[in-house]
Amino acid sequence: MEEDQPIEKHKHPKYLLVFLALAVLTLVELATFYLPPNLRPVALLTLSFIKALLVVLYFMHLKTDSRWFAFIFLVPFLLVFPMVLVLRLN
């Protein structure tokens, strides 16, 4: 029955553009070997954070989906940050 009804086309994010950004950022990560050693950790962590953010926002649709899902996903980080801090102090 549902096949008879016209299919409404969704408006999708530009997924291939997101893929391209992820691929370029991965190449930039590899290029960080040419950076001074003291700058590499900050550069690498920033790049991987941006890549993870792109996947969460566009591929997992948190940019447009319910804010509750974003809230649920972010809550554990309230536990993760103190853990990292304690480990650093140790």
Binding site: V55, F59, V75, P76, L87
Partner: protein
């Protein structure tokens, strides 16, 4: 009477299946955070050049493979949302092949590292490395079984532009596995 009940209606207005997956992913954040923290602690107590043995070009290829597989999953979801069932099937098969390639390369990497002396019980770094990457590999393996079951269902025309929640929920899981690898590639291999 039963025709009047919408099975997807919830008091929160959120799809319970998606809600369940996001709660599960929140627990996975805690699991992998603990594993990464343990890895960093053990790495700090290992020789500074302990990770020099790792094959970065090979894992860079694997990173690209997993990013492409994340893209094929989301393109498959977009396809079925537009009612394109054959496209969905093609993208799911591609995802399965890419995921299997990722795991095969990881197994090859492990055999190479074993032959070079890096074993789980041989050093702190070895133990932490295999635990962390092994747990991720296990998640990929579970994802492959899940993907294979979706391919079976897609081949039987079980999905449509109105019925694609299972693809979306699998996608959430697969993208999360991709995110974990993005972080592991940096923390384990590049730093």
């Amino acid at each position: 009477m039963s025709e009047l009940v919408d099975p997807t209606h919830t008091s929160t207005g959120l799809d319970n299946r998606k809600l369940g997956m996001w709660i599960f992913l929140a627990t996975e954040v805690m699991l992998f955070s603990a594993l990464i923290a343990a890895f960093l602690q053990m790495k700090a107590r290992s020789p500074a050049d302990a990770n020099q043995i790792l094959n970065i070009p090979l894992t860079a290829v694997n990173t690209f493979i997993l990013i492409i597989s994340s893209t094929t999953v989301v393109l498959g979801l977009a396809a079925i949302q537009d009612g394109e069932k054959k496209k969905l099937l093609r993208y799911l098969v591609l995802t399965l092949l890419l995921g299997a390639t990722f795991l095969s390369i990881q197994v090859y990497e492990y055999t190479q590292l074993f032959s070079e002396g890096l074993t789980p019980s041989g050093s702190l770094f070895g133990g932490a490395f295999y635990t962390l990457t092994g747990f991720h590999g296990l998640h990929v393996f579970i994802g492959l079984i899940w993907c294979a079951s979706l391919i079976f269902m897609a081949a039987k025309q079980r999905f449509s532009h109105r019925n694609y929640a299972r693809i979306e929920i699998f996608g959430l899981y697969w993208h999360f596995v991709d995110i974990v690898w993005i972080l592991l590639f940096t923390v384990v291999y590049l730093l």
